[in-house]
Symmetry: C2
Subunit: 343 residues, 2 copies
């Protein structure tokens, strides 16, 4: 075991003072490549030699100081990944994971996955079936659990139609897959016509290009016909305001991302009063605290879906850590797929 | 019984196309004085010779086409009042009300109280104790039930501190009275320093002048010290946005009015995600549908409070119907009290 490792280290500390959009416009203000001591696992933890690390929208919000937990300056970033357990704490369960390939989430430990080695609680590791690809394993916790949790909200509401912005994101695609299986009708927005066909094939009932000149008219027509109640929103800003305004009585705007930094306006506050509309948020960490019993089955379900091909992660790029500073913002700006880091 | 009566009649029909603020800037676009046939009560209804009619913010929203039910052109406006029952339908309970002084709400009947005679469902009439003044009787349903219902929200949330905009409104004063009795701590905003002392005396824990240069700093200090969770908001716009943004985790912004037509911005949508904040609305009609069992006790409680002096309606003006077109907007613009119409 080496004593030092390469990693992408956080430049900022705590939270950012002013809110910005959750787009990574550049690496340099937030991250620097560096060397740091390989950490030692505590009694309930394991040390993982990272195979692939995921770059999620939540990671981007975190490195920019916009996420729900504070940054620790000089620590590696990265909330999840896949790798092999190479060391562990003294407890029996962590020990039993040594040598195993696992999907892992770093959460509380504050040692990120954007490094050659990462710490994770053994309880936050999922030993992987051989049938699960590394690319799926590295993206098996944050997006899949978010998809299952948010689709629970749709299912509980009961209306088959629902709306999602950022329709071509990996998360939206997972939800479209879930919806198709039970006959629900996702209405999704995208920014490019070439995204429409594949999302319809995947199971979206309607795919609307938010840049089209007739977008608002088409949106109102579709909403009138489908009567969606739940709006899962990664974007905010004027697009989301327009959608929420057009939705029917008892609509619920569930915000889980902030891709657009433009002001987010409640166009007609009277709708909150007379149409009983609601605005709320979704955060996976909060969901995991509230629905502990749902977590285990959800993780199992995610793994089964990736094993049998019902779910699959579209890969935009796998970027070696040495090229990360130069390439990641541009790779993240590409549509349709996920970007991974190979330490 | 005359066959015709004087009334203030609605000019608009249905809903307004574009949203405006709930301030009555002029009468002429919305109302005209006129004569109309005295209506005949249906089997479950009573005909009331109106003594005083209330002018509530909800009436203003209604005549402007901004309320949750459509206008009927040529009908009298007015949601509540006090008067004497002079005729009734054939059923036993309506008949039993003849000759009685009642507080009434016109609701479903669509015949307003801004007229010499008004129709109401007998079930929406409250026979008044002699100890209740006409001014209190005419304002006994809409505001008092709203106060009791919204204070239920505060009480259920459990935090003793809560925030209200339009702190000097009759509604806010009723809620301050309720809060004082159970040791809750209202934090209210006003627009004039001369409103501060009387509201503090009434039971407000903090009265902040939103026009003061140090308003934002004081607001943040008070919120930090008191940790209010519920925000009962009649105003929306920049003031409400600022308050909601400064509130702590799990804050709930309950919109029940729209006094400010400026855009209502969610300053930091990330708070919906990571701080579990919510935005919702309150509408008395919806509450009455949802909480039928609470309605009877609430009406009784309201009458007792007005009888024993725990509640009292501050009167700005009682305007004869002949002077209504000329005087009402200016009277409504005065602070601190309620405006009544005498048909």
């Amino acid at each position: 075991m080496p004593s030092e490792m390469k990693a992408l280290l956080l430049i900022g500390d705590g939270y950012a003072r002013t809110p910005t959009a959750s787009v990574l416009e550049a690496m340099e203000p937030y991250l620097r490549p560096g060397r740091i001591a390989v950490p030692t696992p505590g009694p309930t933890q394991v040390l993982i030699k990272v195979g692939l690390a995921s770059i999620n929208p939540s990671d981007v919000m975190f490195v920019k100081g916009q996420y729900g937990q504070p940054r620790v300056k000089g620590q590696p970033a990265g909330f999840e990944g896949v790798g092999t357990v190479v060391a562990s704490g003294d407890e029996a369960y962590p020990k039993s994971l040594i040598g195993k390939r696992v999907a892992f989430a770093t959460g509380v430990s504050n040692w990120g996955s954007w490094a050659e080695y990462a710490l994770a609680e053994a309880a936050a590791c999922i030993p992987l079936l051989d049938t699960v690809r590394d690319e799926d394993g590295a993206a098996m916790i944050v997006n899949p659990l978010t998809a299952l949790a948010m689709f629970d909200i749709v299912r509980e509401e009961g209306e088959k139609a629902f709306i999602m912005t950022a329709g071509a994101s990996q998360l939206s695609k997972l939800i479209i897959g879930l919806a198709r299986e039970v006959g629900f009708r996702p209405i999704v927005t995208v920014r490019r016509n070439d995204q429409i066909a594949s999302l319809k094939e995947l199971g979206a009932a309607h795919v609307l290009n938010e840049k089209a000149s007739d977008f608002k008219a088409v949106l109102r027509e579709v909403i009138k016909a489908e009567q969606p109640r739940i709006f899962l929103d990664a974007v905010t800003g004027p697009l989301a305001s327009t959608i929420f305004d057009a939705m029917p009585r008892r609509a619920r705007w569930v915000i889980y991302g902030r891709l657009d930094p433009e002001p987010t306006i409640i166009l007609e506050p009277g709708q909150m009063i007379f149409q009983h509309k609601h605005i709320e948020g979704f955060w996976l960490s909060e969901w995991m605290r509230q629905f502990r019993d749902r977590r285990g089955p959800a993780i199992l379900e995610a793994q089964q879906r990736f094993s049998d091909g019902r779910w699959s992660t579209d890969v935009t790029a796998i970027v070696p850590i040495a090229e990360a500073m130069a390439r990641i913002p541009a790779e993240l700006a590409k549509p349709n797929g996920k970007v991974f880091l190979r330490p």
